[in-house]
Symmetry: C2
Subunit: 173 residues, 2 copies
């Protein structure tokens, strides 16, 4: 037996987006206990030219919806980067999760050597579906989810590796 492109992509994206949402729930509780506004976490960044927390969520969302849509051969849904409040950032994660969860195995599976084109400013990159997923989409997505985790941890939000791997649920044991 072998793997399908769906197996290798959508369930992991769903889980990680659920985990990302759980980071924000824990951050909200932590901020409340500390008597601070959770929105004060949103502008945090590790270096002046790096994306802040809001932008890391937008980029994680873009990575997930772009990968899911391109693998499924459907139009990438537009989610304008207009979030400025805590509630809006949480809603961006939820909207992304809704879209990724709507993708069905039969939309994604097929020839893993088919071409996927990725429009970038000034050029278009062309990958096989397999290379798109493993060389670009997947490491890119986990990068931004991890950055959001790191920015919240840096503020003292009590997250642990199991929050990142399993969203507070037990991973299969």
């Amino acid at each position: 037996m072998a793997l399908s492109l769906y197996d290798a992509s959508i369930p992991g994206y769903v889980r990680a987006l659920q985990n990302l949402a759980s980071f924000f729930d824990k951050a909200e509780a932590h901020a409340k206990a500390a008597g601070v506004d959770p929105a004060s976490y949103l502008p945090m960044q590790f270096f002046p030219d790096m994306a802040n927390l809001t932008r890391q969520v937008q980029l994680a969302s873009d990575a997930a919806k772009s990968a899911a849509a391109r693998l499924a051969g459907v139009t990438v849904p537009s989610l304008p980067d207009t979030e400025t409040t805590w509630a809006e950032v949480k809603a961006r994660i939820a909207k992304t999760l809704d879209f990724v969860q709507s993708i069905k195995p039969e939309q994604v599976n097929g020839d893993e050597t088919r071409t996927i084109e990725l429009p970038l400013p000034g050029r278009t990159m062309s990958f096989t579906a397999r290379d798109f997923l493993f060389q670009f989409a997947q490491p890119n997505f986990f990068f931004h989810v991890t950055m959001a985790y790191a920015l919240l941890r840096h503020q003292g939000v009590p997250l642990g590796k199991m929050d990142y791997l399993a969203g507070g649920q037990q991973i299969p044991a």
Copy 2:
């Protein structure tokens, strides 16, 4: 056609370990230009109970060699966590890369529903090979590579997303 477990794991690990090594090369050049010892980056951490840069490399190494060995059904090579110098941390990445590159497709491929056991303190987790890779090993590995990137960026090392995705090489275009 479909994907193989090898396609979904080893090439991505090799690329990311090469990228991690390139972060250290760029950090070394940055430290030299700034007149500081690159070893001063090693104790950096984002929160007191988080792993520092040395430990993030050890954990990325552990994630890669453990996943590659378990998928291949071979003994996980022991690399004791004794690194204290910049050169030793770089050597840990190189030794991990050597091992992961030694794994052949025919060692990894096979039934993706076979059981992989993961011994943890106090218990053993049991996964299918597919779930082990996508639910545990892969997000865990990218987490630690990203943390190393973030810790170096936080110190001003001029890394960019292409260093993370493509290790200074052009990704297929």
